[in-house]
């Protein structure tokens, strides 16, 4: 084989390896969506978050961090949203009914929908 052939073969091997490694390391992103009365008002890509963020939506204070979200404070009477604690997996949500605020984690899931 000539030198040129080795170069072609090397380039092909390298290209295949690079593409396969990209495929393997691609992470499934988890998004935190915040809805106010059914409308999405903010979306965060949790894996891209560098620092914790605190956002207040309709008197509900929400902490958003790389490993999950929780409601810190709310003026609602029952505090169910605060007591829901931290959510960290796709499909989990916190709902503050009196303030109409929903915090949920979305992303790639095996199922198209969940019946409950």
């Amino acid at each position: 084989m000539k030198r040129k052939d080795f170069v072609i073969i090397a380039v092909l091997i390298l290209a295949a390896l690079v593409l396969l490694s990209i495929n393997k390391t691609r992470k499934e992103a988890v998004f935190c969506e915040i809805l106010e009365y059914g409308e999405i008002v903010r979306t965060y890509d949790l894996s891209a978050l560098s620092d914790d963020e605190i956002i207040v939506v309709n008197d509900v204070e929400i902490l958003i961090s790389r490993n999950g979200c929780q409601v810190n404070q709310s003026d609602c009477p029952d505090k169910i949203c605060i007591n829901s604690g931290k959510i960290s997996r796709v499909g989990e949500f916190i709902y503050c009914a009196p303030n109409g605020v929903l915090v949920r984690l979305s992303g790639e899931s095996e199922a198209d929908a969940v019946a409950y």
């Binding site: 073969i9 990209i22 409950y116």
Partner: protein, 326 residues
């Protein structure tokens, strides 16, 4: 040697193509997700076309059938004991009455006052007494609801509550509206009721629906996944809505015979059929009936069912779905 070289380059080129297919071929078709709020629940619709669509059909339905909205047709019926019905409200009342009849009254939409007393008693942290429930039960009974043409009448003291079918019925109207807008496939959820139609562009076998694990606190913890081609999935469970009185949980699915939460030995029932409102009604009926008595009912409606008993036995009956994993 030259042949070997050519063969090697061909093999490597094929490897490169496979790598490209692995990288890009597995990507899901771009989906549009829209959210709303109807029937006291978050509503989500996913579809795969570049078309504008909204979920107002669910809110329009809620304005007709909710007993919590003043001036809805059902509120007027409850207040005036008679009301003119739109075709959709009439249809919902009619299939609800049919499920009531076929289930020997295990499903009953005339329990509005009983639900009210459980809600108000829970706020005062007391369990409604048997006497109160008995006296309220006198004013219930699906046979007392009459529909002639588009006019419905009920008896004095009665209260119609379509809460047990509202979410599934909302799935129906959203899918109908989507079809009318030329959308070819999609999947809708209203709370925990699910409806899917058309071909899933990401899976030619159909739509994967997770069934919530009744023992877990959160909805995405699934017991199993099922695959459906087209249709509706509704689940009734003792965890979904309950009243906590003195530290004891009383779930919200009432037995029309006693007025107390039904106690038929089930934690959860999932029903799969071709109509959303109907699958909601059937799942409630089955939860009250228990597994054995539900078989005939589901058979009549050609519906599928997944039952989880209190002793954690799982029974799967009927057709129209495939269990993917447990």
């Amino acid at each position: 040697m030259k042949k070997f070289k050519t063969a090697l380059i061909i093999i490597l080129a094929i490897a490169l193509v496979i790598a490209i297919i692995l990288l890009f071929g597995g990507r899901k078709k771009e989906q549009v997700v829209i959210n709303g709020y109807a029937m006291g629940s978050v509503t989500t619709f996913k579809y795969f076309e570049d078309k504008a669509f909204d979920l107002s059909a669910a809110n329009e339905l809620e304005n007709l059938i909710s007993n919590k909205i003043d001036n809805s047709e059902i509120s007027k019926l409850n207040e005036n004991l008679t009301a003119e019905l739109s075709d959709i409200t009439k249809e919902i009342l009619e299939y609800s009455l049919k499920v009531a009849k076929k289930s020997d009254g295990a499903f009953d939409i005339t329990l509005g006052k009983l639900t009210d007393i459980w809600e108000s008693s829970a706020l005062e942290n007391i369990v409604p007494s048997e006497n109160i429930l008995k006296s309220l039960l006198k004013d219930t009974g699906y046979k007392k609801l009459k529909i002639k043409k588009n006019t419905a009448t009920i008896e004095d003291g009665m209260k119609i509550d379509l809460g047990a079918v509202g979410k599934g019925a909302a799935c129906d109207v959203i899918i109908n509206a989507a079809r009318e807008n030329g959308i070819k496939s999609g999947i809708v959820t209203v709370g925990g009721s699910v409806g899917a139609f058309g071909k899933n562009p990401n899976n030619n076998k159909g739509w994967t629906i997770g069934i919530r694990n009744p023992d877990m606190e959160i909805d995405d913890q699934t017991l199993m996944n099922i695959l459906i081609k087209d249709g509706f999935v509704s689940t009734s469970g003792n965890y979904e809505k309950y009243y906590e009185i003195d530290g004891v949980k009383y779930h919200h699915i009432l037995d029309p015979d006693t007025g107390f939460p039904s106690d038929a030995g089930l934690k959860q029932v999932t029903v799969i059929c071709d109509n959303g409102g109907l699958s909601d009604a059937l799942s409630t009926a089955c939860f009250v009936l228990g597994y054995e008595k539900s078989k005939e009912l589901l058979d009549y409606y050609d519906a599928g069912g997944i039952f989880v008993t209190e002793s954690d036995k799982i029974f799967i009956i009927g057709e129209g779905f495939e269990v993917l994993d447990k």
